[in-house]
Structures are given as structure tokens and as C-alpha cells.
Symmetry: C2
Subunit: 909 residues, 2 copies
């Protein structure tokens, strides 16, 4: 016979922490605490297996379940010294849901079950409190009706409000017992009316129906959505715990509270809790009364306080983690109602893990697995003071919520274009927030000058998002509720008009855009983070020598980036985007000169000659910063028209020319505009992402790549002569055919070897390619013949494998995520099914020709923990990501390695 | 000892037709003819194996080669009754190249070798013609210098011209012997001067050097390019044939000619040849004299004529194909110099193959394999009269050569926009040619009105190309030498200015754009094509029942298309692009109404309700035309902004608004324009190809697909009630995730079943999907759960697998093809390595879940022969292509089946 019910009470429980899958989180921890001798109200838990039967059979119980419940009910009556349905000594119970993982607020709970027209008097007699008993009964009736009988709570509340009005009172506690009794009668009548049946007086029927309701609540809409978002399987189901009621609202020696064993905001080791005397948990949640600091308990009931602290300490050592507790004091007796691992801020997560190692509670492996990589990144950023932010939202100051693109908290004055951002920031007008429909490479200076960036279009890897993460700027993208009117220099959102210069706050970690300033708290790469990452590096790189550890490199485009990346622990640069060097103020005119000289090869060559020293100097700076470490430099990738005026500017030029023409003014200027307009139109592409870019440009315009390779190698030779250990890796973007690789490989070698011959300085260099076109992955064995290394460009590979333009996904991707058509944004976390398979194919085939092929990843996924684990599993040599994401990547790589060891080695993949 | 030299002469040859690889085409057929007893001047062939040795060793001969040559030279002297280098009876030879396949004009030939200062007198004595002998010597010296000694022929020609001027004569034959002798001396002096060595008098040295020169000519630039274009392997090499000279220029009983055993233009069974008395082949090529019809030979030498006809007949029966002959008559004796399969027009190819079956020369299989599928398609189109076209080109009227996008010959007046095309065509102003930078869906009406289309951008599957092929319009795309100035209504090309209204001719089969009218010849689906295709269908569909034959369906968007498709043999429709129905004149305003109603769901729904009857009526027409055959209908695919004003119109609106604003005029109109401009800007996408389209649109705007499904099913129920056997297959475009498929499948079923329930008429329908996103192929096993069929959309799949936008490839793809980085345009012929592998993965995985999954292809590749063979090999159920390509697809499918049987069955794949 299957055991469907597990009892706990009087210091002994049939369950334990180890039975989480069967008893749910709440049920198993109540059993565990009972076994530890910690005071817990007695009760029993109906297993998830019972739920599974119920679910499988279309709402039928296993045959033996009811008998097992009755048997446990009898045990409970014995322990609780009360009897279920007994008018003299009525046993009241709560019926609670509890899945394997906590789903706070998602499923149902019923309190005070066991009350009926008869037992309510028993409760009154036993507590000596008529009003208390009738209030319990009233609440139970409405809660039961709502949860079990599908009669909405609102209709009961109306009657309560009417009664209060009639009595001239403002709060519930002022309603007297007699009135509560009348209200209860009214509630029951309403139920009879609505359901065609009287409110069940049979307490066993109450229990049976309540258990079914909790079972059913697994499929409530909000629960289903929660599971979808958190990727919780549908078939886990919920357990149901039936537990003897305790009351914190039986007078001054009663009360209720919640607490954390450490400060969840900072991780500081101190008991952090709140207490409310003469109250039930419900009152706290309803916000009727404000809880007091835990000191209130120490003052009122010092013995209870000491007991609680001792229990807290014991639970933390037992569970080896910071705990989140719920407790109730009933007439001087302490009961624990729940314990679970406490939610904590990123900074607290790091500190708690570190401290627990120092306190010898956990080992370093455990500490490393316990902190989420994202938390390490978040721990080093400024954040909003949560209380102040919530207050702002409550006050209606939330303007919009977009996609959380780059974590961080930024406050500043709104500006609508990059130039003004630079101008205001320079003029010391304070911090600015750049708000744009979308950003393009020429906004980079403005983004750099800004504290935060908000765009109304684009997804998590839109230009704005990628650049912001790289710069460590707070960024919200795809905030489609914001309507920007650039001409009038304002935006509308949330029914308000925000003008240039108005102050807003941007939470890049949540996607919220809030009016006015919200208080921020500074983050820092503190000692805790440093210590944790030192452990991470030790485990991650344990055997890099045998080529089995995953390296972490940075995506960095300037010497400054490179220096920062090294500070954050980068072991090289995995991606230098050379085009970013083209956007600096003194260069863009020369770049445009080059592009405009379409038919004049000499002029084009002259412009390139002018650009060469700029590029060379940048490379010199980067190579110096990366002395002894490899630097992968990608040759020009974007289409040329990205360097020309953008849409807005194009439109402005067309408008200006038309105006001048209409007014017959300034023919000179008209001609100049006409020329630029024509160039823009000629270079315009239908789908630039799929157009004339990457190595396609390098092949049709070999002089461009020639200049870049020359600049790289001249820089390398220069610094090598000065004693810098330089390791350049030249990377060809967008290769899709063997022909392209063969051609650009030969072209690159020719120029590079030429420079070495000219300078007489021998520098070892590699030539490799991005794998970012699906076809390249499929023919990787052929491409590997001409490539010393591969770097998976997973941004483009994701775009092409899905057929999604990252700049356009905002129109449907959020809806897809909402509807559950996709479990996650594939631009944030690598899509293992599709993109991942292409990567595996690419690696297998590439290494089939060249077993020692060096392979990395340089898309945004290099900074995402789940994606880093994937990269480890498929045996890449390194990941490369924005400098600000390096701490998280280091931790993620260590976690992958530790999990793998626990699971039996990387080779199993 | 390896045999490197094969002799032929006196009715016996060591080689034969079967030794094509060893002796080259020319060598083996000379041997074959010799064995057949056909008069051929004797000679010998040095094998391609000798070439291979020469190539492998860096220009060294096999040790035994020279001895073998000398030995065969002796045999030749015996047969020819002349002696190599003998001043009395000099043996003269030609040295000719000959690879496995004919590479006309690509490699070198040397005539009259064996002449020197001594033998020239012997030749004069023997022929009794001093002038003849010296002319031969002069020509030989210059030819040898050019081919062997690398001294350009031009410098000799200058001297010849000078001599003619001095003598006051106009043609070469007027130059007397003495002058020719002097010229020869001058030539020899020039050679001595240029090369530092005297002209070789040793005839053996002449021969050795000539053979080397022919060997080397395999690597001449033009030959290398020819091989690249025709995919001829580099390592085949050439054989060298050394053959006794015969002379057609020894008086009135001599002459030379070329001929075809049937008319190469029409295939008509009559000897089609030209003859020139007292002349050598060289004279014909040089265009000095115009050849006469073959009747000239009949009149002058009736016996020779009869002999030639008998030989022609014999050769055709022997080779079982129409032959292309070269012959020479020397003093009343006929010699055949070459025979090979004759090049022929598409129409001739079909007719010859058909006729040879009727004449029981070949069987039907052979006939089907001998006609290229493209030829069947070409055979039914109008074509230019080749002679007139070449004359036009020779006269400098070629304006540009672009990509041959859709075969056909069109002549008409140039127009620069679709509206004008419609207007002029309607007004009966004659045929028009639409010339545009590129086309978009709203140009469709204009394209339909035009005879031909020329674009300056885009590749073979650009919008213009795809639509033109579908409409059967001649189309040239990517003609980048044409510079369109829309404002001034003109284009510049080839140094000329062509204005709107000027007449041009467009050859969609070759890519040529020619000034003024070129004469056209009407094509038709004649009896020959019908008969051939009937055979094709028989073999192709031999066992369709056992699901092993490849079906052929049509891509058709209107009832008219459907009717035409059925005429051409379509077995169903594989793709109805429903969006094309949106572009018709009376509908586009309603579509725009729908799109503009972005925030007003009611207005949007109202517009959709107005569109429904239009769609329904179209479907009714298509279903009727396809009674008894399946019709696959793709739901809306392109992004919505495609229905809004395009770039040019947008710019015009911005200009107009600015002008009005500057002048302070018409505020009403300004506002109207502002609104449309805003909508266009809001819907604009960075990469529309990767944007909000296909099922993404269907999911975010379910009302659109809902309307379409309703229209389809209402139409289906309507016609079903009238007795039409209707088989709708509803196809979801752009699926990339299981979630999308599941959602749209359910959504479609819901609406469709709703219509069936409403009407009470039961219609069987399928719901399937396009596989056009790489990810869809990778997860095909999951998608198949919710799809009754797959159709590979290889246009998009190619775009995404390569990362090429078909509208933007013109900037680099032609260069890639030129450089040999790609062997073919992947939008024309399916890329088996990359795209093909994804298709195979998709089929394997799809059928792993659903073994009977119906699978087709509906990209442009469905009409390409090589791609059709691929589709057959991977076991698709059908291909679908433009109606005008159906004949070719039927033939290609039959060929695939026949080849497979010959190779051992489809299952071997």
C-alpha cells in the first residue's frame, strides 16, 4: 500500500529535508524542524504522489488516501489535545500548498478550517474571546468560499464595508462580535444563493474540498505562468500540508513575525527580523499594521527572543545557509511555521557565501555554487535603494517598464540626442540619461557621456543594449510605452509629458523607468567579491594546462577597456571591434571621405592612409595593456553605410534641401546635401544585417582590410621591439564559404608577412575566423583548413538561425516570452536546441580536421551563466564578454567545472 | 612502356570514340571516323596522359614520348607520301588541341607546320603555286611566333598592311608572291630581334615547341576562366593531335565548309551547311569572304555533295545525335576534319531528341536525358533572332549586361515606374520595359503590364527576378552599369543617355540589354515539347503510387496563374502567396486602412472584414481551376510595411511636406502627410527580412490569419458544395520554434473547424508549415508534431544559411562568382553543402516523428534542374515552381528518376 500521508508533531516526523520532491518545500522542512526538536505546530502532509494520481485520473483520489488522512487526523487530535469537529475542544487546521520549489503567493492556503456553527462556540469558550472566535469563522467562510467554492471574496468584503459604515467605525478590529456573527450568517446565505448549496458544516467535507482546491490551484493561471517563467515542470505538482492552527492574535503574549538569519540587503551577520504583537501573519500582509523591528520582541518577551535567536542560529548551521523564518508566539509559546533559504541581494549573496566559508559552515565549492554569476556582476554596480524605489512606484511615478538590458541604477536629466548628452555632461550640467527610439554606432560618444540609456525599440542585444553592457551603463531597451517626440524635445509616458532636462531614474536590472530621482546605493568590487572570484579562478583553471579549463577573455575596443578588463580578471581579449575605432570624433570625417570616394580609388587609398596611424595607435595601447595575453582583433564588420548619416539625419537633410529649394535659397548648400543624400541612397541596403559587410567588404575592397592588417602588425612589431609580449590573433568576420576564408587568409598573410619583412621584427600571429553564419558551422571542416582559430559570433548566429533581427524583435519577442512560445530570450541565453546544435556541429567538424583548433565565443552570450556552462560542456577554450560581465563569467566557468566534476567529468558531454 | 601516341590513317586507327578521356574529343572522333572508313587526313594524337606528366613534372616530357612521336611521324610520312622536312615532298601538319569536352576557341592550333626556307620551295613546286606556298609560310611564321614564341601577331599585321598600302591593294589575296616572300623575311627578322633567336628551321624543333605550346595553352587565362564557368576540372588537361594538312585553297576544285546534320535553330531534319570554294577555314573565321549556302557545293561538285550527305547521315546514325561537321575539299577529294555533337537552340534540342526517337535512332530515356530542362522552358518563350542580336551588339548597341534572371526576349519603350508602365500599356502606347533600381511588391501591376523588366540592383532571386519568372516576363537584374536618374526620367549606360519612351530590347536568357528593337522569334508549347514531356511524365511518375516519384506543382497566386499552371502540367499548387492578393488595385487602400488602424482594433477588424470577400473569391477561382488537385496556401508572409509607401514615395512625401511648410501652404495636406510619414517610420524595420513577418505577424495579430483561414475555408466549402474536389493545405510561414507551430496550428484549426461547423460542409484540409528558418530544420522532429506537411522555402533558407539578403547581394555576389569563391549563385541552384544539409536534416528529423510527412519545396529552386535532382534524391514528394518553369521541372524530375535507375535506385541516397 502506498503511503500518501506523512505525519509530524511532538518532536518526531515521518518526513525530512531529503523528501522535498514528495512533501514539497514547506512540508519537508516542517518535518525536518520537528525532528530537530524545534517547536512546530503538529500536522501532516499529503504527498505530491497523491496529487499526481489526482491529476492523472481526472480529479480522483487514490483509494487509500482518505483512510490515511483520517488516521493522521486522529494522531493530530491526540497530539493537539483537540478534536476535529468537536464543539467543545475543536481542532482547527490550516491547509497549505507546497511544491518542490517555493512559488510565493501562487497557490492557495486556507486557515481556520474546522470551524462551523457548532465549533465556533467551542473556540470562543476555549479562548474566552467571543469576538476572536467569530472573526475567525467569518474569515474562514469567506476564504473557503473564495478558494474552494469559487465565490469571489469581493462580495463578502462589500458587506463588511457596509457594516463598518453603518457602525461608524474605520477598522476591522472595531467591528464587535455580534456584528461579526451577523456578517457570518450573511456570508453563508450568499454562498447558498450563489452555489445552490449551504456552506458545508461537515468538517471532514470541508477538509476534503480544501485539499482538492489546493490540488487544483497548481493549475491556476498565475501559477501556470509563474512556472513557465521560472521553467518549473508542469508535472511536479504540489503537496498539501494540514497543520494545527496557532494564533498570534490572542493578546499581548501573542504575536507573529518574519526574519532572516542575516541581513538580506548586505549579508551582514545579524538577525534581521520584524515582529508584530497580538497579530496574525495575515494582518502583516494586508498592511493594516506596521511591523516593528525585532527589538520589540526582545523588550516584550526576552526569553522568547533568546529562544528564537538560538533556533535561527541552529537552523542556519543545519541548513548551511541563511534562512528566512516565519514564527508565531501564542500566549507565550513560540512556534516556527516555516523555514527556507532566504532571498538576498546580490551583494548579500556574495558576502553570505564568503562568510559561511570563513565560519567553516560550507566549503569553497558550495560557496561558489551558491552565488549566481549575475549576482557577482550586480554586486559591483550601483543599485537603487529598494524601499525608496518602491515608494516612488507606489506614488505613481513609474513611467514605463522595458527590457532590462544592462544592470545598474542611473539618475539624470533626459536628453534626446548623443550630441546634447556629450555637451551637457561636459558642461558639468550633471548626469544625463539618453532617451532614444534606438541607438546607432554614432551615438556611442553620447552613450558614454550618459549615466543611463533608454530606448523605445530593440531587444536585449540591440545596439543600445550591447554597447551599454560593454560600457557598464544602466540600460533599458524596448520601452515601447515611451513615445518620443524628438522635434518637440519631449516624451510621453504613463500619461505624463517629460521634457528635455527633466530628471528620471533608470533601473537597468529591472527595466523600470521612474520619474524624478530615486536614491542609489554605491556598489564596488569589494573584498568579498575578490575573494570569491579568487576561489573561482582556482577551480576553473585547475587544469587549463591540460586544456580542460574554460578561459575568460574580454570584448574590448580601446586601451581603456583593455585596462579595465584586465582589472576584472580578463585573460586576454576575445574581440576587438575595429570599427568602433572609426567612430571617434577625429576619425569619422576621414572614414566618410573614404566611403564617399567610391569611384576614385586614389582618394579612397589616401583616406585609408590617414586612418592607419589612428588604428595603429589604438592597437599599440591595447597590446601594451595586454602584455603577455592574446588579443583577438576582428577586421571591419559593419556595412559602410553605418558610418554615414542615419535615418533621422537623412530625413533632416531631405527636409532642409526641400525647404531651401522651395525658398530658392543657398544653391551651394542644396548641392552639397544632394550629394550626401545620393551617397546614402546608393549605399542603403534592404537588409544591412545580411548585406555587404564583414569579409564580403574585405574581399570586394581589399584595401580596407589591407590597411587594418598593416596597422595591427605595425603596432605589434612596434611594441614587440619595446619588450611587450604581443600575441595578435587576426579575425575574419562573417565567413560563410571556403572561398572567402581561403582568399582573406591569403590576403592577410601577405600583408602581415610583408610588415614583418619590412620591420625585421618577428611577431607570431594567428589568422582565424568568426563562425556566425549557419553555413560556416556546417562546413567548418573545410574552413578550418585556412583558420588557426574559431570564435563563435553568437549574436549573428542567433539572428540567422532564428531569422530574427535583433533590432526588430521588440515587436514580437516580448509577446512570445509572455505567451510561453519561447522559454527565454535567445539573445540573452544561448538557444541550446538550435544555435547550440550548430555550434556543436561547428566544433566537431572544425576539430575533425584540426584537433587542436582554438575555439571561443565572443557574442553577448559569453557573459551569460547558462551559456558559459554550455561553452564549457562543448569544450570551447574560452568565452569572451564585456569587461563588466567578466566576474560573472569567471564564476560561471568555475561552476560549470565544479558541476561537471560532481557529475563525472567534462568528457561525458 | 606507356603508349602516349595513337595513330590514325588509311582506314585504321588505334583510338576510338571510347577513348575520349585519353585522346580528347577531337582526337578520338578523328580516330573513330578513320575506323568508320570516312576520309580523314592521317595523323596521330598525343594523349592527355602525356599532358598530365608534363603538368606534374613542371614541363617535362615522358622519356619515351619523343621516340613515339618520331615513330608515328614515320608512319604518317608513309601514309601521306610526303616527308617531314623534306624539301622535295614536304609533309605539312597541323597541331591541334583537344580536351575531353569541347572548349571552342579557348586553346591553340598551329597550321602548316613543317615549312621552312627549304620546304617552302618544295610546296611551291608540288602545288605549282608559288604564291600559295609563300602565303602558307608567311602565315605559319606569324602563327608560330604568336602561339609558340610569344611574339604578338599584331606587329606582323602592321607590316602586311603597310605592304598592301604601298602596293595599292585592298585584300590579302592581291598581294603577290614576291611581296609575300619579302614579308616572310621581315617576319623572321622581327622574331630574331624580339626573341634573340632565329626562327627555327628545324621542323622537329618546330613540332616539339608547338606541342609544348598546345600543352601550355590549357592554362591560358581565357581557358582557365572557361573551365571555371563550365565547371571543368583543372586536371583533365588536353591531348594534342598532329594531322597531315589538307588545303581547300588550291583552286576551284578545292574548298572548305562547316555543317550541321539538322537545322540547329529549329531542329528540322535537313542538312544545314555552308561552303566556300577555294578557301581555308581560316578565311571563313576571319570574315574575309562570306560563305555560301551548301547548294553552292551541290552545283559545283555534285559527287562531293552526295558523298558529304551520305557521310553526314552515317555519322548521325553512328553517334545517335545531330552532328557538327568540318570538311575540306582538296582538289576534288573530300576530307572530314572534325565531327562533334552540334550545339543547337532550345527548340531544336527538343525537336531533334523527339525526332531521333521517331526515327528509332535513340530510345525515350536517351531523348529525355539529352534535352536540358532549361531548354524545354526556353523552347516555349519568344527569343531574339540571334543573327540580328549579334549584329546589334557588333554595331555597339549593347547597353549593359546584367544577370539573366528570367528567360525571354522583350522589346519595348523604357518606363521608370510601375504606374507609368500600367498607364502606357493601357493607353495602347505599345509594349513597355520597366527599368528600376529594384522592384517591390507594389510594382507588381507595372511588372505585369510590362514586356520585360530591368533592375540595376538585386540578384537572381531578387523580387524582380522571382516575380518576373513567375509571370513569364523577360527580366535582367543587377545591371549595375545602368545608372537610373528617376527624377530626370532617363538612364545612362554604355556612354549613352536613354530617355523614357526610348526603345530597348531585353534578353532575359543572357542578361543583355540592347538599344532599339531586336527582331524576335515566337516560341510555343509545340507538339515536340508536348510529346517529350508526356514521356517525361510517364517515367517520372512511374511509381508515384509507391511514393517514389517526384511530383511537380506550381507557385500560383491567382486563378489565371492556376489555369496556366494546369496547362503546363502542374499537379497541384505548392504555393499561393496570399499577400499578392493584397496588392491588387482595389485592395491596397483597404490593406493600408487596416495597417494604419494600429491602436484601433475595431477599425482594424472592420478593414479585415472588407478584405475577406476579396480573398475568398480568389480562393474560389483557384480551387475551381485546381479541381481534384491539392492547393497549398501560405498565410500572410511579408512585413506589413511592405504595403505602405516605399522609400521613394516616403522621400517624396517628406519633400512635399517640407516645401509646403517652407511656403506656409496647405496645412491640411501637411498634416495628412505627417500622419503617413509617422506610420511609415513606426513600422520601418532595420532588417525587414528578419523582422516582424510570417507567423510572427500571425501570432501578434491573430485577426489577420483568422480572416485568411476563414476566407480559405469559406471558399473551400462553397466550391465543395458545387461538386469541386477541393484539397486545401494551409501553410504557416517562417516557423522557427515549436511554440509558434503549436499556437498557429491550434489557431488555424479553431477557425477552420468553426467554418466547417457553420456551413455544415465537411472539407478535408491540412495544416503545415514552411521550413525556411535554419532552426526549423534543426528542430523539425518537434515541429512535425503539429504539421501535416513541410514545404522548404529555399529562398529564405538560402538567405539565412548564407546570411545573404537577396536584395543586396548584387554588391558582392557577382564578384564572388567572378573570383570563383562560389561555383554558382546559390539563389539559382540549391547549395547542396550548406542549405542542402539543413534540408536533409529537416527531412530526416521530420520523418523520424512522422514517416509519412508530405514534403515539398516552394523556393525558386523548384524550377532549377540540378536542384530538382537534389529534391528527388532526398525523397521529397514534390517540387513547386513558377508555371513557366513547370515543363523544365517535369523533365528534370524524369531525368533524376532515369539517372537514379541507371545508378541503382533512389534508395542509395
Amino acid at each position: 500500500m502506498t503511503k500518501y500521508v506523512y505525519f509530524f508533531g511532538s518532536g518526531r516526523a515521518e518526513g525530512s529535508s531529503l523528501m522535498r520532491n514528495l512533501l514539497g518545500g514547506k512540508g519537508c522542512e516542517l518535518a525536518e524542524m520537528t525532528n530537530l526538536g524545534i517547536p512546530v505546530p503538529p500536522g501532516f502532509t499529503v504527498t505530491t504522489q497523491a496529487w499526481a494520481h489526482y491529476n492523472r485520473t481526472g480529479r480522483e483520489w487514490p483509494e487509500e488516501l482518505w483512510d490515511q488522512i483520517l488516521e493522521n487526523l486522529r494522531r493530530l487530535e491526540g497530539v493537539a489535545d483537540a478534536s476535529f469537529g468537536d464543539p467543545r475542544k475543536p481542532l482547527l487546521v490550516s491547509v497549505r500548498s507546497g511544491a518542490r520549489v517555493s512559488m510565493p503567493g501562487m497557490m492557495e492556503t486556507i486557515l481556520n478550517l474546522g470551524l462551523n456553527d457548532a465549533t465556533v462556540d467551542g473556540l470562543a469558550a476555549r479562548t474566552g474571546n467571543d469576538r476572536f472566535a467569530w472573526d475567525c469563522y467569518r474569515r474562514f467562510v469567506s476564504m473557503f468560499a473564495d478558494v474552494v467554492l469559487d465565490v469571489r471574496r469581493e462580495i463578502f468584503d462589500e458587506h463588511l464595508e457596509a457594516a463598518k459604515k453603518r457602525l461608524g467605525v474605520r477598522t476591522d478590529p472595531e467591528v464587535p462580535a455580534a456584528e461579526l456573527r451577523k456578517l457570518t450568517e450573511t456570508y453563508k446565505d450568499l454562498i447558498n444563493e450563489r452555489t445552490g448549496r449551504p456552506f458545508p458544516q461537515d468538517v471532514q467535507e470541508q477538509l476534503r474540498l480544501a485539499i482538492n482546491a489546493v490540488f487544483d490551484s497548481w493549475f491556476a493561471k498565475k501559477a501556470t505562468e509563474y512556472r513557465r517563467i521560472h521553467a518549473i515542470p508542469e508535472d511536479w505538482g504540489t503537496a498539501v500540508t494540514v497543520m494545527s492552527m496557532v494564533f498570534g492574535n490572542l493578546g499581548d503574549t501573542s504575536g507573529t513575525g518574519v526574519g532572516f538569519t542575516r541581513d538580506p540587503r548586505t549579508g551582514e551577520s545579524r538577525f534581521y527580523a520584524e515582529f508584530l504583537a497580538n497579530a496574525q501573519g495575515e494582518d502583516v500582509v494586508a498592511g493594516i499594521r506596521t511591523p516593528l523591528p525585532i527589538e520589540a520582541l526582545r523588550e516584550r518577551m526576552p526569553a522568547i527572543y533568546d529562544e528564537l535567536l538560538a533556533i535561527a542560529d541552529r537552523l542556519e548551521r543545519h541548513y548551511k545557509d541563511m534562512q528566512d523564518l516565519e514564527f508565531t508566539v501564542q500566549e507565550g509559546t513560540l512556534y516556527l511555521l516555516q523555514t527556507r533559504a532566504g532571498k538576498r541581494s546580490a551583494r548579500a549573496a556574495v558576502r553570505v557565501a564568503r562568510d559561511l566559508v570563513h565560519e567553516t559552515v560550507i566549503d569553497q565549492h558550495t560557496a561558489l555554487l551558491r552565488v549566481r554569476p549575475q549576482e557577482v556582476n550586480e554586486a559591483i554596480r550601483p543599485v537603487f535603494e529598494e524601499r525608496d524605489k518602491q515608494a516612488a512606484i507606489a506614488a505613481g511615478r513609474l513611467l514605463a517598464t522595458g527590457l532590462a538590458a544592462a544592470p545598474g541604477a542611473a539618475v539624470g536629466q533626459v536628453v534626446f540626442d548623443a550630441d546634447k548628452a556629450v555637451e551637457w555632461a561636459k558642461a558639468g550640467q550633471g548626469q544625463v540619461i539618453l532617451v532614444r527610439p534606438e541607438t546607432s554606432p554614432e551615438d556611442v560618444a553620447g552613450m558614454y557621456a550618459a549615466e543611463g540609456i533608454v530606448t523605445t525599440r530593440g531587444g536585449r542585444t540591440s545596439h543600445a543594449a550591447v554597447v551599454a553592457v560593454g560600457m557598464g551603463k544602466a540600460c533599458v531597451v524596448g520601452a515601447s510605452d515611451i513615445l518620443v517626440d524628438e522635434e518637440r524635445r519631449l516624451f510621453q509616458a504613463g500619461g505624463r509629458v517629460i521634457r528635455e532636462g527633466d530628471v528620471i531614474s533608470v533601473d537597468g536590472g529591472t527595466g523600470e523607468v521612474i520619474l524624478d530621482a530615486v536614491t542609489t546605493v554605491e556598489g564596488s568590487l569589494g573584498d568579498e567579491v575578490k575573494e570569491l572570484l579568487a576561489w573561482a579562478d582556482r577551480y576553473r583553471a585547475a587544469d587549463v594546462a591540460s586544456d580542460r579549463g574554460l578561459g575568460v577573455r574580454a570584448n574590448a575596443d580601446t586601451p581603456d577597456d583593455a585596462v579595465r578588463a584586465r582589472e576584472f580578471g580578463a585573460e586576454g581579449i576575445g574581440l576587438v571591434r575595429t570599427e568602433h575605432m572609426f567612430f571617434a570624433g577625429d576619425r569619422i570625417p576621414i572614414v566618410r571621405e573614404m566611403i564617399m570616394a567610391t569611384t576614385d580609388a586614389t582618394a579612397r587609398r589616401a583616406a585609408l592612409t590617414k586612418l592607419l596611424p589612428f588604428q595603429r595607435d589604438d592597437f599599440v595601447g591595447i597590446f601594451r595593456a595586454m602584455d603577455g595575453l592574446p588579443v583577438t582583433i576582428r577586421l571591419l564588420d559593419p556595412p559602410l553605410h553605418e558610418f554615414l548619416p542615419n535615418w533621422r539625419e537623412y530625413k533632416e537633410m531631405v527636409e532642409k534641401r526641400s525647404r531651401l529649394e522651395a525658398l530658392g535659397m543657398n544653391v551651394e548648400e542644396q548641392k552639397r546635401l544632394e550629394h550626401i543624400i545620393a551617397v546614402v541612397e546608393r549605399l542603403r541596403e534592404a537588409n544591412p544585417m545580411l548585406g555587404h559587410r564583414g569579409c564580403r567588404l574585405g574581399i570586394t575592397n581589399p584595401e580596407i582590410y589591407g590597411m587594418q592588417v598593416r596597422a595591427i602588425m605595425e603596432a605589434a612589431c612596434t611594441v614587440a621591439e619595446q619588450g611587450v609580449r604581443v600575441m595578435p590573433e587576426i579575425m575574419i568576420p562573417l565567413t560563410g564559404t571556403v572561398g572567402e576564408m581561403k582568399e582573406t587568409f591569403a590576403q592577410t598573410k601577405r600583408v602581415a608577412d610583408g610588415v614583418i619583412a619590412e620591420t625585421g621584427i618577428s611577431v607570431k600571429y594567428l589568422v582565424g575566423t568568426m563562425i556566425e553564419v549557419p553555413r560556416a558551422a556546417l562546413i567548418a571542416n573545410k574552413i578550418a583548413e585556412y583558420a588557426d582559430f574559431f570564435s563563435f559570433g553568437t549574436n549573428d548566429l542567433t539572428q540567422l538561425t532564428f531569422g530574427y533581427s535583433r533590432d526588430d524583435v521588440a515587436k514580437f519577442l516580448p509577446k512570445y516570452l509572455d505567451m510561453g512560445l519561447l522559454s527565454h530570450d535567445p539573445f540573452s541565453t544561448l538557444d541550446a536546441d538550435g544555435v547550440g546544435e550548430l555550434i556543436e556541429i561547428g566544433i566537431d567538424r572544425g576539430r575533425s580536421l584540426r584537433p587542436d583548433l582554438k575555439i571561443g565565443i565572443c557574442g553577448e552570450h559569453g557573459g551569460d551563466a547558462q551559456s558559459v556552462e554550455f561553452c564549457h560542456r562543448v569544450k570551447m577554450n574560452y568565452v569572451s564578454c564585456s569587461p563588466f560581465l567578466i566576474p560573472g563569467a569567471r564564476l560561471a566557468a568555475a561552476q560549470a567545472r565544479i558541476k561537471e566534476r560532481q557529475g563525472g567529468g567534462r568528457d561525458r558531454a
